[in-house]
Every structure is written in structure tokens, then in C-alpha cells.
Subunit: 177 residues, 2 copies
């Protein structure tokens, strides 16, 4: 189960509470890589504590508990990251819709493609803006997820938008074929 590894990885970057982790999943991580809800995160953290992969190192306001990775956890994470990945088995509903376009009549397919392209454009614009604001604040230095994720997302959005535009043009050129 990759939820374990995702939590291990996030905590290796920076100690955090379950709540903070769940916010991470709702933002960048959940949009591009891995989504998880808080109802799966809290029980999993408890299980991982039992396995000695993480530990509670502090308690804050509102009963919040800060978790940190143990040495054992860090080792397990490294082992997982460096082990050969099994073949990509993906689940992405947005993309599934695009793959089923041919089941629609061309007019409907064009509607969907245009909507998709627009969505990608907006996503790219949002990320580009975030990146500019970030560069202004912290022109150098490493900051974990942020920069790498933003760049990844940007390129991803642009690639999908480019594909959608290509598909639109192709569909318009050969309405039936």
C-alpha cells in the first residue's frame, strides 16, 4: 500500500501532524501523485507507529500530535524508493474521459475536449502564478515539495493542453472519417 510510503516520505521531508499531512494530500500531492483522505491517514499513522516506522514527538494545541520518521522508517522509505517500481497502474478519471471520446459523437467530443483544454490552461496559469510569487519570496534554496511539484504540474498541464488542442484540430479536420 503506497499510502504508507507517501506518509513516510512526507514526514521524512518534515515532521507533521495528521492534519497537516491531509492538507498536503488535498493540495499538490493529491492532484498529481497520490490522494488520501484524513479518514485513512489517522488510522494509518497509528498502525505505522505500532510498526515503529514513525513516532509521536510532540503534542500541540487542540490535541494535535506531531509525527516524525524513525530510523527504521527512513530505511524502509529508502528501500522502497530505490526498489524497481512495478509497472505503472494508473487511475485518473479525467484521463479516462479523454480516452473514451470516440464513444461520443464528434460534436460532443469537441465540447469535452475544449473544456478539458481550458481546464488545463487554467491549471497551468494558477501554477505559473504561484511559482512567480514563490520566486519573489525565496529566490534560492530547496523547499521540498513546492518547486519540484509546481514544475511537474506545469509541464503536465501544458502537455495535456497541447494534446487536447491537437485532438481538436484532428477532429475538426476529419469530422467523420
Amino acid at each position: 500500500m503506497s499510502l504508507t510510503q507517501a506518509l513516510l516520505g512526507l514526514l521524512a521531508l518534515e515532521p507533521a501532524s495528521g492534519y497537516e499531512l491531509s492538507k498536503e494530500f488535498e493540495r499538490d500531492l493529491g492532484r498529481y501523485a497520490w490522494y488520501a483522505s484524513h479518514t485513512s491517514i489517522y488510522p494509518e499513522l497509528i498502525r505505522m507507529t505500532g510498526r515503529g516506522l514513525v513516532e509521536v514527538t510532540g503534542e500541540g494545541a487542540r490535541r494535535s500530535r506531531t509525527y516524525e520518521v524513525t530510523d527504521k522508517g527512513r530505511e524502509e522509505l529508502r528501500k522502497w524508493l530505490l526498489s524497481p517500481p512495478d509497472l505503472g497502474r494508473v487511475r485518473n478519471e479525467q484521463v479516462l474521459r479523454m480516452f473514451l471520446l470516440d464513444a461520443l459523437e464528434p460534436a460532443d467530443a469537441l465540447i469535452l475536449l475544449r473544456r478539458f483544454a481550458e481546464g488545463m490552461e487554467q491549471g497551468a496559469a494558477t501554477l505559473a502564478e504561484l511559482r512567480v510569487r514563490h520566486d519573489e519570496k525565496a529566490p534560492t534554496g530547496r523547499d521540498g515539495l513546492g518547486v519540484l511539484a509546481a514544475e511537474y504540474g506545469l509541464r503536465q498541464y501544458e502537455a495535456m493542453r497541447g494534446w487536447a488542442l491537437w485532438a481538436i484540430e484532428r477532429l475538426e479536420r476529419t469530422p467523420e472519417a
Copy 2:
């Protein structure tokens, strides 16, 4: 549950048996959009038959059954495709690994990134070759999943490879920061 819609979509493109559908999921579809195993497909087809979304229209050798979408199924598919998608919640283990790079020491991260870039390059090469072979065989015309999926995959691979190369350069320039 998008498995229903995925099956509906594939069958709308072309009638098929459960076995053929499962092959589809093992190939392009499962790699970019949606994966499903045969053990979930067969029961789901039976459920969908019960709901009147698909029907068995032929029996072939080795007890194989060919399914087709009914009008009701086609309607449900169209409704789903044109309905506003809920926000993208993605699960992609490969990408998760890339997002957790900073949890590794730079040397390990570089190993992973190089391996990733190479994998993307190979994927792109395989698809490009497939496309050439396809163009030779059928220079025009629509053929369902093939062309759209191949182009999508190609752009996806290239975008991820580009990102990885960018990340490698970035890491090499600022080994610690």
C-alpha cells in the same frame, strides 16, 4: 465507480468479451487512464447486465461471451462523459516516487531521476515506433483508442522526461543548497 464507465466506454467503441476488455486494461488504458483486473471485470459485467446497461450478444469459442452496450448504457455513458468531473484525485505510484525525491540524499535522488528519465525515454520510443507502424498500415481513418492514446502517451512521456532532465540539472547545480 468509474470501472462501470470505463467498461461502458470500451464496449461503446466496440463490442468485446470480458477477456478482451481485460487485455485493453493491461495495455494502453491501464497505463495512462484506468487499470482494472479481470477479477473485477467479470463480476461487474454481470452486474451491468442486470442493470440493463449491456447485454450478451454472442457466444464464441471457449465459452467466451461478447457484450454490447444497450441504448440505456449508451445514454448513461454520454451523461457521465458530459457531466462536470469532480476534481482530479490521482493515484500514480511512479509520480509519487518523484515527489518524494527530497527525502533522499542527492546522490540517491539523482539515481532515481536518471532511471526515471530513461524509463520515460524508452516508453516514448516504444510508442513512437508503434505509431509509425500504425501509420504505415492505416494512413487515415479513426480507430478508437489507438491513435489518441498513443499521442497522449507520447506527449506524457516526453513531458515527464523533460521534467526529470530539468530536475537533474537543478540538483547537480545546487547539490545541497
